[in-house]
């Protein structure tokens, strides 16, 4: 398996779930290419966006959503989770590991959340390796 020197990770997030500035400063220090895509509500995420993130080269994609009882739009994070579950099935159908896509509840008060999440994703990717593509 090819080792991932600098993994590509795309994070979709609800603007209410993380502190963007803090997150960016943290990412800056790590050996990861992170694309941050902020959404006014995580429920705006769609299967096609997640798939296109993989097409654009992401090794892993995560959707950071607010805790279920703290969604400003009531069911946004529940909807986001369902979209992700559906997209995971598509990934499985096309032979991509479901583990590459995740949905995680994050509270804005937890300042270490994103760093922990990225650590886990990177750890997971060391098992999965890069997505196999045509030379």
């Amino acid at each position: 398996m090819t080792k991932l020197d600098k993994p590509n990770v795309t994070l979709f997030h609800c603007i209410n779930s993380i502190d963007e500035k803090l997150t960016k400063s943290y990412i800056h220090k790590r050996n990861i290419n992170v694309k941050l895509i902020s959404l006014p509500c995580s429920s705006l995420v769609k299967d096609v966006y997640l798939l296109r993130a993989f097409e654009a080269g992401a090794d892993a994609v995560a959707v950071l959503v607010c805790p279920e009882n703290q969604c400003r739009h009531l069911q946004g994070s529940i909807r986001a989770r369902k979209r992700v579950e559906r997209t995971k099935k598509i990934l499985e159908e096309i032979g991509l590991d479901q583990e590459r896509l995740s949905v995680i509840n994050v509270s804005i008060t937890d300042q270490l959340a994103v760093s922990k999440i990225l650590q886990e994703i990177v750890a997971g990717l060391s098992d999965l390796g890069p997505i196999r593509v045509a030379a």
């Binding site: 299967d47 096609v48 097409e55 159908e93 045509a134």
Partner: protein, 222 residues
């Protein structure tokens, strides 16, 4: 509306495998409403196919387009240029749309990406149920607006069978017993009389049993 389900991606790949340039053509009417064949689904399927084929070292160019209605020639016409640019068309419309395309573009292979399932309604967001079988001889007036041909698993005109329990159908507890609904509705409407009446056997000639059907409006034919 006509309801369908997207075919498994694997099955779709098997049908498109020999083509290098593919048009995925959506339909903006029924199948869009039931989330199988509108712009969003065309885009997601295109992305999934590209990802899948990339992993298999196969190259494919996918073009995406969605027309208002694939079952009408005027709308299909809008896709003519895109069809001409591609080797095949993967249609995300119902079976009527697929066949309309095949008729219009006689020398281009047209493949179905959707399994057309039924004529139904959206009960609540994300839940679609079958309501009509297009039997050609509507009996809803007698049954309080609930179709036993479609919604009773045994098509009973003189139901319910002995398997109706607590308002549920014996073949699937998640399915409502159509006859319980009919009885409730006719009772509400004060039409008990219909429940006691012997409903004679159905004439299936106007249905698909009578062969493929046609509807002709002379005044519209020039």
């Amino acid at each position: 509306m006509i309801v369908g389900e997207q075919k498994p991606v694997r099955e779709i790949i098997d049908t498109i495998i020999r083509y290098k340039k593919l048009l995925i053509l959506g339909c903006g009417t029924c199948v869009k409403t039931c989330f199988v064949g509108g712009e969003d689904e065309v885009a997601a399927l295109a992305s999934a196919l590209r990802l899948a084929l990339k992993q298999e070292d196969r190259k494919i160019e996918i073009e995406e387009q969605t027309v208002e209605r694939q079952c009408e020639n005027e709308f299909i016409q809008e896709a003519a240029n895109a069809v001409a640019r591609n080797e095949a068309v993967l249609s995300l419309a119902c079976g009527a749309g697929v066949q309309a395309l095949a008729k219009r573009f006689g020398d281009t292979p047209v493949l179905p990406g959707v399994n057309t399932t039924f004529i139904g309604i959206q009960q609540k967001p994300g839940l679609f149920t079958e309501e009509c079988q297009g039997c050609g001889n509507c009996v809803l007036a007698v049954f309080g607006g609930i179709c036993p041909i479609t919604r009773c698993s045994k098509k009973l005109l003189n139901g319910p069978c002995g398997g109706s329990q607590k308002g549920r159908c014996e073949i699937n507890p998640e399915t409502e017993c159509a006859w319980q609904l009919i009885i409730d509705r006719l009772t509400l409407l004060g039409q008990h009389k219909n429940l006691r009446a012997y409903i004679p056997p159905k004439n299936w000639q106007p249905s698909i049993s009578g062969g493929p059907r046609k509807y002709i409006r002379e005044d519209h034919i020039i």
